[in-house]
Structure formats: C-alpha cells, structure tokens
C-alpha cells in the first residue's frame, strides 16, 4: 500500500518538498524494521578494552560491576559524516515524458537524501549546478538546516547546458572535509569525461555516488513515426526515424550506460542508474547500502 505513494507520479502531486521527503523517507524507514541488513544511527557496535586516556563516560559500568574489568561501548552512530548533494540543473533535466520532469524527480531524490541525513544527524549540504554553481548550502547539522536544504532544492531552476568540467572544478573548493558526495545528473556527456571530471572528488577521500537520472523515453524512445527532435540544451533539430531509434540508438544508449557503469566501477565510484518511472525508494536503498557499508 505504501509503495503506491512512492511512485514518482504520485509524489509529483504532493505540493511541499518537505512533505515529499518525509513521505518517502518515513515510509521507507518503517519498511526497514523487517530488514536486518541495515543498521544505522546510535546502534551498539562492539566492546573495547579500556585504555588510559579514554573517556570514562563511555565505560560500561554494569560490566565492570560484574567482572571488575573496564570495557568501553562503541556505537556506530557516534561518528557523523558530511553528505553533499550535487544537483544538476541543466536544461536537459527539464525533459520528462510521463508527466514528470527529470528535474522534479532529481529534486525528490535530493530532498529525500537530505532528509535521511538529517534524521541521522549527518551534516548535509547542497550544491545546484549547471554550467556554473548556482546554489550552495554548506553542510551543517544546525537547527533549520533541513529547511534550508529543502528550500534550496525547491528553488533550483533549470538553466544552461551541462558542462561538468567547469562546476566540478570549483566543487573541490567547496568540499573541504571528507564525506559522502551524491551527484544527481543525467550525465549527457562522454562517460570518460564524466569520470574524469568527478574523479578528483573521490581522490580526496570522499565517497562518491552517481545517480544517473534518465527518463524511460531517453533509454528506449518510442516513436510512432519519423519525428523532428530538438536538443533541449543546444537547440539543434534533427529528423529521426523509428527504425533508427529502435536499432542504432538503442545500441548506442546501452553501450553508453554500460560504459558509465564500468568506468565508475573502475574509479571506485558508486554508480546507480535511476529510471524516473521507478519508485524513489530504490534509489534510497542504494544510498543506504553504501552509507551503511562504507562509513
């Protein structure tokens, strides 16, 4: 029943971004109670023998009373990380064939990730970019941070074409502390260029997750006949035939996705292709798997 509310087309009907994020994340978390694979937050992790200099507040005095030995309790959630969400606002993100633009889906995804980080007391930040960095919300755990993030996401508008090199060169300056970098984009660029552009973020000790947001019509276009297509970013027009789309384009697109995936894996970057027709929790599940396993 809840799954129905995670459908992107249903979420698009919800007016407030905070409400969308809350709906997605709360429903998703409540579904995780049955899953033992993922633990997070202030969970007990292990005992460690006391060493001089350790904080006595973490000594388990109950164990000491029974065994007269001092052990320290360690928790997984004791270490917060910095989550930076990079949201692509290029013109190509304006495309949508199912009543929902990719940009809107990307906003939901970004908001959900920010809300999830907020629940975990992680410091979440936001960078909206196209050919330039359009918005920047520094990572923080301060009160009202979530609202700032959601406002930033909500106010993001699609603008110029995607030029990854330029904004990512500046992003390094914004991400001074190692953490988790989540890039949400349609990555209409050569995979080699993409990986080469985002690679430096990984090299500074960040965990990098690429959410490749694509519309089903981009992956597998369905044309009823020869049509005139217009490039959303460059404005170029081209007549294409259904035969070409169903054969050559499909092959090229599959190769492109495969190339993206392999190159990301080669650069130790987590890559996840998101189909806007799929529910949002699939992307969140991917995010949490990485978040729980790596940090």
């Amino acid at each position: 029943m809840l799954q129905r509310f995670l459908d992107p087309s249903v979420l698009a009907g919800i007016s407030g971004l905070d409400l969308v994020a809350k709906t997605v994340v709360d429903g998703f978390i409540s579904g995780l109670h049955r899953s033992p694979d993922f633990g997070f937050s202030q969970e007990f992790a292990e005992y460690r023998m006391y060493s001089p200099g350790d904080d006595l507040r973490h000594v388990d005095w109950n164990v000491f009373a029974r065994s007269e030995k001092m052990f320290l309790k360690r928790y997984r959630g004791e270490t917060n990380c910095q989550v930076s969400v990079l949201l692509d606002a290029s013109r190509s993100m304006k495309y949508g064939s199912r009543g929902m633009e990719k940009m809107e889906y990307a906003k939901f995804l970004a908001a959900s990730i920010c809300y999830l980080a907020h629940l975990q007391r992680d410091a979440a930040g936001l960078i909206v970019f196209d050919s330039e960095v359009r918005q920047f919300v520094p990572p923080s755990t301060r009160q009202g941070q979530i609202m700032r993030l959601l406002h930033g996401i909500d106010s993001a508008q699609t603008g110029a074409e995607t030029v990854l090199e330029k904004p990512f060169a500046h992003l390094v300056d914004y991400l001074r502390r190692r953490g988790l970098v989540v890039a949400i984009s349609d990555f209409w660029e050569n995979p080699e260029t993409v990986i080469k552009t985002v690679g430096p973020l990984r090299s500074r000790g960040n965990e990098l997750i690429l959410f490749h947001v694509l519309d089903p019509q981009e992956i597998q276009p369905k044309l009823r006949g020869p049509v005139l297509l217009e490039d959303l970013e460059s404005g170029a027009k081209m007549e294409v035939s259904p035969d070409y789309v169903s054969h050559e384009y499909k092959g090229k697109m599959s190769a492109h996705l495969e190339d993206m995936k392999s190159r990301a894996a080669g650069a130790n970057i987590d890559y996840f292709m998101v189909d806007t027709s799929r529910p949002l929790d699939e992307a969140l599940r991917q995010y949490l798997a990485i978040r729980a396993g790596r940090l």
């Binding site: 990719k102 009823r224 490039d231 035969d243 070409y244 492109h256």
Partner: protein, 683 residues
C-alpha cells in the same frame, strides 16, 4: 450514364477528410524536445522522404475509397442497348384454332379467314428475319421452329386445322414469356384470332408480357348471335327407362329472344322434340322423361337444337347412358326385427334411378346361396351366424364383394368379434334414463362418400351401441362417448361397412330421422360401385379420362376415338393413367381394371360466347409488353431501339474491396514501427 440516387454524390465532400489528414495536418511538424541528440546522426533525412511517399500512397487510396463509396451509394448505371435495340426480332404468328373459329362468316369459317390473315402477315416478313408459327387452343402447338424459310412458314399456317378446344390467351402469354426468356430475343407477335372474351384468364396478370414483346392483334369475324345447348343433365345409368328424366339448357349468347326446337336423339334416332323459348341473352330449358327406346348397354344420345346461327357445332350436345339391370342387394333378416327391413327398403327405393333392388333372405338360406351375384350384402344384427355363413361372407368380401353390417345387442351377446371386419366386441354402451339418456354423434368424417349429405347425423339419438374395437378399421363417425358408430375396412378386394347399432328403431332413432335415407343410399352406392365413386362419362373437350388407379400393374387400357381408331400406343396402353379428350364425340374406353364405358365429349361451352375482348383490355394487354405508348389503333410504336439500365454497382464494389485491402496493407506498413518497441520490451 446516370445515377439512381444522385444525392448520395454529396458524400464526395468527405474527400476533404483525407486531404486534411494528409496534407494540412502533415505541415504541422512541431519539433519534439529531447534531452540530447548526441546519439543521433544526420542521415535520417531519407526516412522523411519515405514517410512522404507512404503518405501520398495512403492519401490516394483513402481518397479513392471515399469516391468509390459515394459512387456506390449513388447507384451508377449505364444505358445499354439490348438485343431489341440491335434490331434482332423474332416474329411469332399465333393462329387461333379454337372451337369458336368454326363460326361461319359468309362462305368461309373464321379459321379460314385467320389463316389468310396469317399468310398476309408472313408475306410482309423481311428476308432473313426469323419467324415461328404457333396454333392456339387450350395449349400452344408450335407448328414450326424458328426459321427464315417463308415456304415452311406458309406451309405451317396451311396445316393448321380446326379443333374443339377452347382458346386460352393466358397460355399464349405464358408461352411468349418462356420464349423471350429462352431466346433472349424481343418478340414481334401477331395474334390472329376472334379474340373471344371467354379466352381471357381470370387474372389479368396471367396475360402479362415481357417488356421486349410487342403484340399486334388481328381480329377475325364479327359479333353475331349464337344459340347453343349449354348443359344436359342425364343419368349415367338407366335401370328403369320409365323413370329416366333428362333436362337440357339452351342459351342464347348476344342473341335476341327466340323459340328453338330441342330434339333428343338416341343412337341416331329422334326420340322426342320440344319447343323452348329462349329469352334475349338468356336460357331456356327442356325436360324429357322416359327413355323406353334405350337398349341394354351403352346408348349414344344427343340433344340438338335448330339454331341456324353461324356456329352450328354447338347446336349439338352428346351424352351417353348405359341401360342395365338394377344391382341386387341382399338383406339378411332373421325375422326378429321386421321394421329394420322395411326402413331399409323404403330408403333404398327413394332414389330416382332405382339402381338397386332389395332381396331379403333368412341367414340359413343365405348361407347356402351364391353371394357373388349380389352387389351388396346387408346383415342386420343377426346374433350368432348359421354354420358356413361366416366363411361364405369372408370369401365373398375377399373376392370383391361389399358387406354392410349392423351390429346390435344380439350380436354383442352372441359374437366375440365382428364378422369379416374382425374387430373385437367389448360389450355395449347403454344410455340409461337416469344418466345421459342418449348418445349423439360428435365426430363425423364428412369427406367420406358415405358421410356426405347425412348432415353430421345432427339430432340423431343413439340409445344403445355396441363397443367395437378400431385396431384395423377406419372410423367414419363416433358417438359422444368416443365409441365408434360407423367403421370401414377393406378386406381383400372388397369393403366392409359396420354400423354399431341396429337398423331398427328400438336402439336408435336414425331410421326415423332425415339422415337415414342419404345414409342408406350413400352406403349402398359406395359399396355397390355407383354414385360419386364412378367416373363421369359426359365430359368437356380438354378434360381427362382416368385409365388406371395404379393398382392394375401390366393391365392394358384401351381407348377408341369417335372414328373408332385406337388412340393409345402400346406403351400408353400399359402405363398411361389418363387420356385427354381432344375432340367432340363418343370415346369407347376400357380401363386397366376392365371396366368399360362410353364417354361423350363436347366442346367447352365458353366457346359459344362470341363476345369480343374490349379494346381497352387489348390496349392494356399490349401495354404490358411495350414500354412505348400505344397508338389509337391499338398498335404499338414498334421497336426503334431499346435501352436497359445496367448497374455498375457490382464492379464498383469489387474495386472498393480491392482498394480497401490495399489501404489496409499500406496503413499497416506505416503503423508497424509503433508495435516494435513493445515487442522489444517483452523480449
């Protein structure tokens, strides 16, 4: 070329639909946004060209479909010249040779004049035009096949002989319709006839002609007064010559009042003469009583009048009578119920012709008598039969005799089964005074000869009836309680008729009822071989004489015409069921069953009425065969050329089906790519 429903051509406006779909809508090529064209190439210009070709072909096909649909509904036709228009005609000369054509017109007969007129028509026949000569009577006789030989045609006309048949213009029209249908050729018909009004069929549609038939009338003769012996009522058999009564009706057609002498002749001798006054256009009758001069056997009789008119052939009316002894009816009476014998005798003697003579014997005497000399044997509630009578009756009936049994209470007590009928006797049905008091007759087979004129036994009261089984018999009448009253069964060659009460007045009141006399007379006549079961011997020309009933296998029938010549071939004598009387006179007939009779044939008296068909009727008749106007003389405008509308709808429908098929194929090719991604997805 024309259209049956030209307003449907307004449907051509729908042609604008594909024009809008293919031409106007096509120019609205709004570009569709797409995120990136990085995977597309510029070589797809050819696909647009392909699409345009597809569109043009589809456009033309759809345009053609709409035009064809509009044409189909409009019902196009072209006027095609028929064979008639091409000048090919078949001349048909029909010469009336009916009985009325014997009428004298001056020194010649009407048939002579008709033949002369027919030759006159043939003399104007253009060389090379096919023609045919037919003789008109009650049936059509083709005197020639279609031929262009004038000599053969003239010879055929000369060979036409007078007949005693009546004219049938309905038969002529039927023949002409068949001829038109078979030859597919327009007909130019010349009817040479006295055009008797009586020759027209009852319904005018029977003389309807096909549209390509042009008929021209050549009237022969004039209306003149005619007297004729119209009918003669005479007995077929004479048993007592003194009681014979013969009546003749003399009719005047278009004739003034006159007194005519009516003469009865028998075997060529004048027997009696009487004067009859015939009113204007009316009838007079003469009655002759007594036929003492009749000799045993068949007698050739004739009623003749002295009319002195133009048609003397109808002044004679032939009929035959057979003088014979009355048939014997044996009434077995044991003396217990004298009233039954008296009732039966009184009823039998009430007939005019005294065809049957009643003899009364006691059962014991009858058991030793030769029953074969009796036409009918009657048993009246004998009770137990004397020894030998049962087997004697059985043999008599099996050999063709007839038995009438009254089964009363005496038989119910003494006999377990009805003699010869062989049906079980199961007690009696007695209507008590306390109960229903009497039974009535509720169910009567009025189609049977015995049950005719008995008025359904209305009012007859049956107080006691014997319950007889019906396993082998046919029930002719039932009582109100469902029990049979009259039964019949055929045994061997003979018949048995059973009445389940007695012929006295004690157990029923039938003998005192008016139904008693016709019941007795019809029963005896039916069993004894007279009355309506006998074939009539006075018939009109054109009627048929029955030669066999179907049971006489291999037996020969024989017919001698008025000239004494045998008219049946060997095959006809062995197989023919009927024989048609074709001329007036006496025919000696022996049926396959061996029965001999003298059949008298006379011409149909409708031929005696020489009244002519009104001109309006002739014009109407002519108009049925010609679409053109009829001129004042009643003759058509001829055949200057004739066209018939020829519908093009079947061909347009065929083309439309082909175009629809082509459109489906082209449209399918065009729409095929939209199904392909789904297949890929499923894969």
């Amino acid at each position: 070329m024309g259209f049956l429903n030209p307003w449907f051509l307004g449907g051509l406006i729908a042609v604008g639909l594909p024009i809008w779909l293919h031409l106007l809508k096509r120019h609205k090529t709004d570009p569709q946004p797409f995120p990136s064209l990085m995977f597309f190439e510029h070589r797809e210009q050819s696909s647009v060209q392909h699409r345009r070709l597809d569109y043009i072909l589809l456009f033309l096909l759809r345009l053609l479909m709409l035009v064809l649909l509009a044409l189909l509904f409009a019902g196009p036709y072209i006027n095609r010249l028929t064979a008639k228009g091409a000048g090919k005609k078949l001349l048909v000369v029909a010469v009336d040779r009916s009985f009325s054509m014997r009428t004298k017109e001056g020194t010649s007969t009407r048939l002579d004049d008709a033949k002369a007129e027919a030759l006159n028509v043939l003399s104007k026949l253009p060389p090379g035009q096919p023609a045919q000569v037919v003789a008109l009577g009650d049936t059509l006789q083709a005197m020639t096949q279609q031929t262009t030989d004038p000599g053969e045609l003239r010879g055929a006309v000369s060979a036409i002989k007078e007949s005693d048949a009546r004219a049938s213009f309905g038969e002529l029209s039927r023949y002409l319709r068949t001829l038109t249908e078979s030859t597919k050729t327009p007909l130019d018909v010349h009817l040479v006839s006295d055009l008797q009004k009586s020759g027209m069929p009852p319904g005018f549609t029977d003389v309807r002609l096909d549209q390509d038939t042009d008929i021209t009338f050549h009237p022969i003769g004039k209306v003149q007064p005619n007297w004729a012996v119209e009918t003669v009522i005479a007995p077929q058999h004479v048993y007592d010559p003194k009681r014979v009564r013969i009546s003749a009706t003399v009719t005047g057609f278009s004739a003034p009042a006159a007194t005519r002498t009516v003469t009865l002749l028998m075997n060529g001798k004048t027997i009696q003469s009487k004067s009859v006054t015939v009113p204007e256009n009316g009838r007079g009758s003469a009655e002759f009583t007594g036929l003492d001069q009749a000799s045993y056997g068949f007698n050739r009789c004739e009623i003749r009048i002295d009319s002195a008119d133009g048609l003397p052939a109808d002044d004679r009316y032939a009929f035959s009578v057979e003088r014979t002894d009355p048939k014997k009816v044996l009434f077995m009476d044991d003396g217990r119920r004298q009233d039954a014998q008296q009732f039966f005798r009184a009823a039998l003697n009430a007939t005019d012709d005294a065809a049957f003579q009643l003899e009364v014997l006691r059962p014991e005497v009858a058991a030793t008598s030769d029953l074969s000399k009796y036409a009918v044997v009657v048993l009246n509630d004998l009770g137990s039969l004397p020894p030998g009578l049962d087997s004697s009756l059985q043999k008599y009936v099996t050999n063709g005799g007839s038995l009438l049994e009254a089964i009363g209470p005496g038989s119910a007590v003494a006999l377990p089964r009805v003699p010869v009928l062989d049906e079980a006797i199961d007690g009696t049905s007695y209507a008590s005074r306390e109960g229903e008091r009497f039974f009535t007759v509720s169910d009567v087979d009025t189609g049977h000869d015995v049950m005719k004129n008995v008025e359904r036994f209305d009012g007859v009261k049956i107080y006691l009836a014997v319950n007889v089984g019906t396993a082998k018999s046919r029930v002719l009448a039932r009582l109100s309680n469902g029990k049979p009253l009259v039964l019949e069964r055929k045994v061997g060659e003979g018949k048995v008729l059973v009445f389940t009460s007695d012929f006295g007045a004690a157990n029923n009141d039938l003998p005192r009822h008016y139904a008693w006399v016709p019941f007795v007379q019809k029963s005896v006549a039916y069993l004894g071989g007279g009355g309506s079961t006998e074939q009539p011997t006075n018939l009109a020309v054109g009627e048929y004489v029955e030669l066999r009933t179907g049971n006489e296998k291999g037996a020969q029938a024989e017919v001698q015409d008025p000239d004494g010549q045998r008219v049946l071939s060997l095959e006809e004598a062995a197989q023919a069921r009927n024989f048609e009387l074709t001329r007036e006179g006496f025919y000696e007939v022996r049926t396959a069953g061996g029965k001999r009779s003298l059949v008298a044939a006379h011409a149909n008296r409708k031929e005696s009425d020489l009244a002519v068909i009104p001109q309006e009727t002739l014009d109407l008749w002519k108009a049925t065969g010609s679409s053109g106007p009829v001129n004042a003389s009643g003759q058509g405008t001829g055949s200057e050329g004739n066209t018939t509308p020829w519908s093009l709808s079947p061909f347009i429908l065929l083309v439309l089906l082909g175009v629809a098929l082509a459109e489906s194929v082209v449209a399918d090719r065009y729409l095929r790519p939209q199904a392909q991604p789904q297949e890929t997805k499923a894969a």
